[in-house]
Symmetry: C2
Subunit: 272 residues, 2 copies
């Protein structure tokens, strides 16, 4: 295990296509077929784990993945269960479904299962997350506090995430739920974190925690706060509008690439 | 009439408070009381002009405006009617309600009534617009084409507006309807236009087409495309995601000021 992971994160903004061109899930399946031919679906975030597991088993089966295992974790002790950990050890692709991101971190965080997942990722495996599974990827994750209007720059709650991705904060269902305000609010808290807003049926494929490219039908919004020249954020004013000057914003579509270290889109014809 | 208007535009993102602190309508009423004591409500955009007129007559009456006239224009010829034009000539504050911005421009655009409104504005009067009335203020206005998902960077339609405000494009109900994508789409078409997205119960008070300040409970988002270094927009790809690099974004709250000519927020302590 080194500081620089060798693996890939596929971070999906939710509602990835399961019946049409299935561009994102095809990319996931391709990786599973290449390696062990196995994928593990982790439904810990979901209130309807059985239904969700069935859906993904069907679609990954159709996409030629030989073995689709399900880890239906409902209590924290199951994240220490040897039979469950065996499933992770045999896989090269693990898929976190949607649901509630705090269920993911509270049930799996720091468990034996988490350590295996981390090893898998640092060793070259692929970790996939959609919706809540996407939001949970960074060191710090956005959570929807009760009644938070997700459109306000001020209103947001954060919690410690799985820490597979570094120096980013990720929001899903981005355009569909009008979450620009929420992502701005997260970035302005500490501009060290680059904000990444991912539309539904859209994913970033992030290799080695370094560069990513975009797959799927929607857009990816990058909110870079490095050049913010003024912000009114303070603990004294948690509810009001936060004023912010000089945010840099990029919009990326399918096939576009982005360099997380340079914080720049990579365009054809540019020397990289 | 000169090139530089002497008047004020109060541009409201819709759903301005009518029962609580009424901060925005209080500012409108203050101006009406200062001048002739009269305000004219123009309901041309609305499908329910009578109800809307009644609401505004009630609230402006409560706020101490002596005379509240209503112009219920339903056909274009009424915008040439002398009795209607008399009402405009006697007022210093005119208020466009919400509804359909194409109704405003198609029924009033270039009419005798419009010429009086323009004269009023250039001569120092106040023109107020909320929702559709806000969107109609610039030279080019955003319209919601049938079925346009307003969150996509690609999907938008534009039409010629009233041209009271210059080099801007305005969207209302901004955070509430997740319209960042739509405003980005408008700005990327021609970055000459600064994008201004106004939340509900929020307004900009724009003096002499030069500087504005923010009133109300929400945020104003400024989308500046002047430094865009790449965009994939073309007529060949009208439906797909538009990729854009290096948009500058500012978020303003109540009391914040912005210089439209310099395209900069005005902050305390800055030499201006």
């Amino acid at each position: 295990m080194t500081n620089q992971p060798k693996g890939t994160l596929i971070i999906i903004g939710g509602h990835e296509d399961k019946e049409g061109d299935r561009a994102i899930l095809t990319e996931v399946a391709r990786r599973a077929r290449q390696d062990s031919g196995r994928i593990v679906i982790i439904t810990v975030a979901s209130q309807e784990p059985e239904e969700l597991a069935k859906d993904y088993q069907k679609v990954f089966g159709e996409l030629g993945v030989k073995q689709v295992d399900v880890l239906d974790i409902r209590e924290r002790q199951e994240a220490y269960d040897e039979a469950n950990i065996e499933k992770i050890l045999g896989a090269r692709v693990v898929f976190f479904t949607g649901g509630d991101q705090l269920r993911i971190t509270s049930q799996i965080g720091d468990s034996d299962m988490f350590k295996c997942l981390r090893e898998l990722y640092y060793d070259g495996g692929t970790i996939v997350g959609t919706s809540a599974g996407a939001a949970a990827m960074p060191e710090t994750m956005l959570i929807g506090g009760a009644g938070d209007p997700s459109n306000r720059v001020s209103a947001l709650s954060m919690a410690p995430g799985l820490a597979f991705a570094h120096n980013v904060v990720i929001d899903s269902h981005f355009a569909e739920r009008g979450r620009m305000g929420r992502l701005l609010g997260a970035v302005v808290q500490n501009p060290r974190n680059l904000g990444i807003g991912i539309d539904e049926d859209t994913a970033i494929v992030l290799e080695r925690d370094d560069c990513f490219w975009v797959e799927g039908s929607g857009a990816v919004y990058i909110v870079d706060g490095q050049r913010i020249s003024y912000s009114s954020l303070s603990e004294e004013n948690p509810e009001g509008v936060v004023s912010i000057d000089d945010v840099t914003l990029h919009v990326l579509g399918k096939g576009d690439q982005f360099d997380l270290h340079k914080r720049r889109p990579i365009r054809d014809g540019q020397v990289e």
